[in-house]
Structures are given as structure tokens and as C-alpha cells.
């Protein structure tokens, strides 16, 4: 496995959502005058990372940190407001619907909610066969059926289920069907957006095992979005920690869990409830996550960081490579204070 070759390169990615409503909603009284004011949610602010071939890059963070937006932008479900996305060296974020089709085959996605990600009006067979037919117009009917059957066996579902509708299955079974749908096109790169967070503990293990097996057998590369750090430790090759639309730290999993550098990563790690320690001893953060509408100046984390100084309040930290192979965006780490 050549782990050094990036399959996906994301550079300075930005995504803003305009939430100011229509023209009339933007008008506000201010100091006796009527002014027009636009409000944006800054979901991603200049995020850059590479995904190496064959690895599983996990993106972690709390809700609202922009991790799902990264996934959806990479998959072309959202148009980026700035920056670029390259796949195998080709820029894909500005392609037309038609030009992007070949990439759709190579890049697939697994969704969070097993109850919403399957079309309730289509049988399992219909759901699985449609993409195969669509992307392989030359394929004969038997070939399509064989392909789908093979994939169904692969993910451990009986092809006899095919005539049934999604509501007849449990959450774990549906998530397997979702994985099967992604695999029907023989992708090389799969984005998984919180694929197990809606499932029960005993089912989570089943789905994670299935994803690891698929990675091995199909030589897949994963971009795995999750809020669950214990899963990351198990599953990820490298981890990217996001906070308020910004990348705080990007490091190999072992390094990150052994020596977290960024204060936010440290707090996040200390907050996982573990079986063994009987007295929680986590780092307390002050206050709450600010709204992504009015971003704090400087480092987005400075309001809650116990080590913040004036520089943190003014200057935005850059992602700086460290000696242990990790990259950290923190003035404190850069200055050697931390």
C-alpha cells in the first residue's frame, strides 16, 4: 500500500451559508438609519488537508464544528464558497454535473441516519440496482443482478431481502444496505458521515467491522466523520480535529491519543467517558461554543482556552507541522508555551 500518495487534496476550503433571509429580512434599523445587513454562518473557514491513498482519515469535532459540511462539500453536495478540492490531482469542485460523473463512481458516501438514507418507496433491489445501471449503461441485466447479489453477500445481507422495503429492516441492517449501495459502484474513496452514531452499541461494532473488512477487500480510502473519539482511536489512520469550522490539529492517531498538543484536543480527549477511570478528571472549558455567525477574532478557540493570550485574541494561528509528524494550529504550541 502506497500511503504517501494523496488521493484527495483540500486547500483553504471555505463554506458560508447566508442566513439573512430575503432582501427585506436583511434591512435593520441602526442608529436611526435603515441599513442592509447580511448574516452568514461560517461553517468552514480555510480548512486544508490531504487524504492519503488507503488510509482512514477521521474528522472529529462537536456538533456545529463543520465536519459534516466538509464531507458534503467534498462530495459535491454543497458548492464551496472558497478554496479548492483536488481528486487524484484533478480539480473537481468546479466541474459541471456531467463532467463530475466519472468521479461519482470513484467517490461514494455513507450517511448518518439509516432511517432516512434509503428511499422508503423503493425495494432494496431497486435501490441497489439503479446506480449500477445508471453508471454502466452497457451492462446486461444478468450482469447487473449478479453484481448486486455479490455486493449483498459481501455486506452480509441475504439477496432474498431484495424484494422488501427499507421499513422492514432494523437500523443496523439498513446501514449495511447503505454500505452495499456505496460499494455497488466499486469506489476507491468513501466518505462516511457519522455512519454509526445512530446505532446501538452492539450494532456499532457490526458496522465498524464491516467497514474495516470492506476497506481491506476493496482497498478503500475513508474520510470518516464522527464525534466519537473512541471509535477514532480504533478506526483512524490519522485524525483531524475541528473546532468552529477550523482545523486545530491533524496527527497520526497514535500520536494524537498519546500526546495531544492543541488545548482543544486535550479537552476533548479528557472528556471521553472511559470504563476504567472511576473518577472523571477532565479539563474544564469555560463557556460554550460561540455561534459561527460572528466568529471570534484571532484563534476561534481563544474564548474558552485556558492558555489564551493577546496574540491568540488577535492573530489567527496557522497549521504548523511538528517534529512528531502532527500539525497543530496553536500559538501556544508554536511558541513552545504548551
Amino acid at each position: 500500500m502506497n500511503a504517501q500518495q494523496p488521493i484527495l487534496q483540500v486547500r483553504d476550503l471555505e463554506k458560508r451559508f447566508n442566513i439573512s433571509g430575503d432582501f427585506l429580512d436583511q434591512l435593520k434599523f441602526q442608529g436611526g438609519k435603515i441599513v442592509r445587513k447580511q448574516e452568514n454562518v461560517h461553517a468552514i473557514n480555510g480548512v486544508s488537508f490531504d487524504v492519503m491513498k488507503g488510509e482512514a482519515l477521521c474528522v472529529v469535532g462537536e456538533s456545529g464544528c463543520g465536519k459534516s459540511t466538509v464531507a458534503r462539500t467534498v462530495m459535491g453536495l454543497l458548492k464551496p464558497s472558497g478554496g479548492s478540492i483536488h481528486y487524484n490531482g484533478e480539480r473537481i469542485d468546479q466541474l459541471s454535473d456531467r463532467a463530475v460523473l466519472p468521479y461519482r463512481k470513484k467517490m461514494q458516501m455513507i450517511f448518518q441516519n439509516p432511517y432516512a438514507s434509503l428511499n422508503p418507496r423503493k425495494t432494496i433491489t431497486q435501490t441497489l440496482e439503479e446506480p449500477v445501471r445508471f453508471h454502466n449503461p452497457g451492462m446486461s441485466e444478468t450482469e447487473v443482478k449478479d453484481k448486486v447479489k455479490a455486493v449483498m453477500f459481501d455486506v452480509g445481507i441475504d439477496p432474498g431481502w431484495g424484494v422488501r422495503y427499507p421499513h422492514e429492516f432494523s437500523g443496523g441492517q439498513r446501514q449495511r444496505i447503505s454500505i452495499a449501495r456505496a460499494l455497488t459502484l466499486d469506489p476507491e474513496f468513501v466518505v462516511a458521515d457519522e455512519p454509526i452514531s445512530a446505532l446501538d452499541v452492539s450494532i456499532q461494532a457490526q458496522v465498524l467491522n464491516l467497514m474495516m473488512k470492506a476497506q481491506e477487500e476493496h482497498n478503500l480510502t475513508y474520510l470518516f466523520i464522527t464525534h466519537d473519539l473512541s471509535v477514532v482511536e480504533h478506526f483512524g489512520t490519522r485524525v483531524a480535529v475541528m473546532y468552529l469550522g477550523t482545523l486545530c490539529e491533524l496527527a497520526p492517531t497514535k500520536t494524537l491519543f498519546a500526546t495531544p498538543r492543541h488545548p482543544y484536543t486535550q479537552a476533548l480527549l479528557s472528556a471521553i467517558p472511559r470504563l476504567q477511570d472511576h473518577r472523571p478528571n477532565h479539563i474544564k472549558l469555560q463557556g460554550e461554543v460561540p455561534t459561527p455567525v460572528n466568529l471570534p477574532s484571532g484563534c476561534v478557540f481563544h474564548g474558552r482556552c485556558p492558555h489564551a493570550n493577546d496574540r491568540c485574541r488577535q492573530e489567527v494561528p496557522k497549521l504548523v507541522p511538528q517534529s512528531d509528524g502532527s500539525q497543530v494550529a496553536c500559538h501556544g504550541v508554536e511558541e513552545g508555551r504548551l
Partner: protein, 329 residues
């Protein structure tokens, strides 16, 4: 006398397709100041158990058998007025989703004051003072201002703090918390859990914590109750259950956690999924998923066997114990 004694509790849901038993034969006790965790996956009946203590199961569910004794009183014999005296006053509840729990059209103050006035004869002014004090105890900044705000002006973590403050308003002896942190973010989760733990400890309040997270249970509780398909399958001191679970399901649940396996290795999974309450298999409900399944498991419901400080409902554990006892004699 234990603070709360639940004995052979049975809850039935009268559905159109026929009656379905959501809880069967559930028994446990909570001592004064004790923290008890009820663990299970969705559909195990843990929330039903929690809500049935205060007789708050929504239709078409009802308590169809068993006893719930609180401070020696049989709650099922109480009139609805007497039950209301206990709710919120002696036993308080914390709900799962703070975004849905507070009434959107009433201010925090209104929702706190009404609770005090429902149980104590005090003026609105006095009630407000108590409410502000409690908000301060849960670390809400500038509570005098916050108290006149509406719920939508607060973040999820803040709202859950307010709900904890409401729970503590009348100095209850028991708090029932139904997945109090599931809807929150990891860092907020840890903070809320710690706050709850701290306040329970300092006020000597008992806690029944419903959760699916074994990590939380191991950190917060002294006793754990594991539920599967509407029954208790194992209960005992939390430490024992986490470190040395006897029931194959509990073992499976703990072993399935990613932290129990080396990174990159295949996780220990329990095959299949929990049966729906309508078609629970005969014998032990876990038998189709159990790797140690024996013939007896498919026919007879296992009773409880003592194992250390724990009670385990498993035929295999019983046989092992019996064998050990024979060898010893």
C-alpha cells in the same frame, strides 16, 4: 428500608395488534444517596422503567403488575393528588433532550416558580429568589437576567443546567435522569455529568441514571442494572459488572466497545439485533444472539443466580456455579 424498592414491575402497552409487555419482572432497589445506573440498548425498556416509577408512562402504556415502594409507601396505591405531591418534590426528573423539555412559550422564571408554588406555600417573590439561587448553583452566569429569558435564548448545555436547577428546586431525595447527556456534545456532556454528580453527592440525593453509555455508568454510579428486551438480566455493584461481567450480553456489550480492542483489529461484535417486543424468543430472550447458547436457553427462562455481589439471569452462569458448588463440597 431502602429509599426506592421496585418489585416485579410489569408494564404493558395496549396496542392495536394486542397487548405488548414492555417490562417484565423488573426488581431493584435504590438506597438513600445511592447512584444507580440502568443500562441497555434502545428498546430494552430502560426509559419505560424510569417513567413508570413516577407513573408517567404515556398511553397506551400502563403498569400491569408489581409494586413500587418509595420511602415505604406503595406508589400505585396513591391518589393522583398524592402522587403529584411526590413528583417534582420528593422525586425529580431530568429528561433527555433539553431542547424539547422546556416549554417554549414560558420564561425560565415562570417554569421554575410554578414548580415551587405547586409544592410549597410561598409567594412568587420568595420563589424567584430560590430559583435564582439554584440557577447560580448550576453555574448559570447572571441568573437574575437569565431567569426572565425564554428557553430558545439559551444553548442546549445551558438548558440542561436549568433543568438540573429545576430538579434541585425542592431538595428532592431522588432524581431520575433519563439519558441526561445523550443530546449534548462530548465536552458539554462531561461537564453536565460532573455537575450532576457533584450536586447529588453534596446534597445526598439518590440518582437513577438511565443511559446506554457504559463509560458514563462506570464513572457515575455505584450500582448498575443491565436490561435486555424488557427484563433485568444482570445487576450488581458497577465495578464488578464493568470488570467482571457474567452475563454473555453484558460481556458482549463491554467487549464491543472499540477501546476494548487494539486499534485496527476486528471488534468483538454481538451478532443480530435486539428482538422487537412483539416477538421475544422463548426461553432466554438473548438466546439467538448468544455464543454460549444451550438447549435449556431456548426453552426455560433463566432465574437469577448470585455471583459475587451480582445477580445474573443466565443458565450458563447457574450451571457453572452449581458445578463449582458441587466440586467444593
Amino acid at each position: 428500608m431502602a429509599l426506592l424498592e421496585v418489585e416485579n414491575l410489569e408494564v404493558t402497552f395496549g396496542l392495536r395488534q394486542g397487548a405488548v409487555k414492555a417490562l417484565r419482572d423488573v426488581s431493584f432497589t435504590v438506597e438513600r444517596g445511592e447512584r444507580v445506573g440502568i443500562v441497555g440498548e434502545s428498546g430494552a425498556g430502560k426509559s419505560v422503567a424510569a417513567f413508570s416509577i413516577l407513573n408517567l408512562i404515556s398511553r397506551p402504556g400502563y403498569i400491569s403488575g408489581g409494586q413500587i415502594r418509595f420511602e415505604g409507601q406503595d406508589l400505585s396505591k396513591l391518589s393522583s393528588d398524592a402522587m403529584r405531591e411526590i413528583r417534582g418534590n420528593r422525586i425529580a426528573m431530568i429528561f433527555q433532550d433539553p431542547m424539547m423539555t422546556l416549554n417554549p412559550v414560558l420564561t425560565l422564571g415562570q417554569q421554575m416558580v410554578e414548580c415551587l408554588k405547586a409544592h410549597r406555600k410561598i409567594s412568587t417573590q420568595e420563589a424567584r429568589l430560590i430559583a435564582v439561587e439554584k440557577l447560580r448553583q448550576v453555574h448559570i452566569p447572571s441568573p437574575e437576567k437569565r431567569i426572565d429569558q425564554y428557553p430558545h435564548e439559551l444553548s442546549g448545555g445551558m438548558r440542561q443546567r436549568v433543568i438540573i436547577a429545576i430538579a434541585l428546586l425542592l431538595d428532592p431525595v431522588l432524581i431520575i435522569a433519563d439519558e441526561p447527556t445523550t443530546a449534548l456534545d462530548v465536552t458539554i456532556q462531561a461537564e453536565i455529568m460532573e455537575l450532576l454528580l457533584e450536586l447529588c453527592e453534596s446534597n445526598n440525593v439518590g440518582l437513577v441514571l438511565i443511559t446506554h453509555d457504559l463509560g458514563v455508568v462506570s464513572q457515575v454510579t455505584q450500582k448498575a442494572i443491565v436490561m435486555y428486551a424488557g427484563r433485568v438480566i444482570e445487576q450488581g455493584p458497577t465495578k464488578e459488572i464493568i470488570n467482571d461481567a457474567q452475563h454473555p450480553y453484558t460481556q458482549g456489550l463491554i467487549n464491543a466497545l472499540p477501546q476494548q480492542t487494539l486499534p485496527g483489529q476486528r471488534l468483538n461484535q454481538i451478532p443480530g439485533s435486539m428482538p422487537s417486543l412483539q416477538n421475544i424468543p422463548a426461553g432466554c430472550a438473548f438466546n439467538p444472539r448468544c455464543e454460549f447458547v444451550m438447549d435449556v436457553c431456548k426453552q426455560t427462562l433463566p432465574g437469577f443466580t448470585r455471583s459475587g455481589g451480582c445477580q445474573v439471569a443466565c443458565h450458563m452462569v447457574r450451571e457453572m456455579k452449581e458445578k463449582a458448588a458441587q466440586e467444593a463440597s
